[in-house]
Symmetry: D2
Subunit: 90 residues, 4 copies
């Protein structure tokens, strides 16, 4: 089983008001030096087969899926990457 | 400016019903071979100073902040890691 | 078309750390008198047929769906209610 | 204590890809007749004082707060309404 991670974040030019509220709360809560906070989504997909078997065609399919069902590319950017699955210790 | 990423996911033993709905929708939508989908949150923090200056004490502070304000550790796991900021090309 | 709204909130005994961060930020941001903030999810379902046709059996089906795919009832509570659809002016 | 509910939904013209994935999954999962699913956020604010004391000025302040810290009005609509607090039985 391979793990593919899809990160979805609002585009940089689109305001994230809740992230901003958290950022502005931090100094009062005792945390200094954090200039910006943005919140997005992280999807973990468990894909059949090993990470080695995830060829370009399979990743292209996952990218297509992310573009269709996980991100709204008008307002969000996304990245797709393969991670070692937690149980995948050699 | 350094970027610190905090990923927050439901603990593995806690059901993610929406991820499950998406996973079960995929074959019908033409995407085979995805055994599980889980959705979590990704926070991107822009931290003052360079990544090199983020010492263990600073990271411990950020971990403490994540534990207090970003994740509910009764039901969620989180990880903290430093990433090169997008603009940080040499 | 009838609109059914499903509200999903963390159970009261489960901490909402981000809501808490926002709540603690508010006084500093100039908003006093807010004792608690909790964030949940709101689903709007457009259901075929008019609101009058949504009988108990249909609502029971939607409740079952919410319980299976929209809420994790171990950690979340949900409510289902029928709303007039926006376009449903007589 | 009065409860104020702020509902935040993506504007109708902005695609909700995850809601769409859930909607398209439903027939296969045995749920027919749901034409659209959209997911938004619901905030519950506990406000000091009784619901009766929530005058127009207080609500205007909360509306301003929602506009600044809970919703991004470029891509989201929001509504503010007063609800009886759960514990507010006479």
């Amino acid at each position: 089983m391979a793990r593919v991670v899809v990160d979805v974040m609002l585009k940089p030019e689109i305001l994230d008001p809740q992230g901003q509220a958290v950022q502005r709360a931090l100094p009062r809560l005792g945390f200094e030096g954090i200039a910006d906070v943005r919140q997005g989504k992280r999807f973990e997909l468990e894909v059949e087969g090993s990470a080695d078997e995830l060829d370009d065609a399979a990743l292209a399919r996952i990218r297509e899926m992310a573009e269709t069902f996980l991100a709204n590319t008008v307002i969000e950017d996304f990245t797709v990457r393969v991670e070692e699955s937690e149980g995948a210790t050699a």
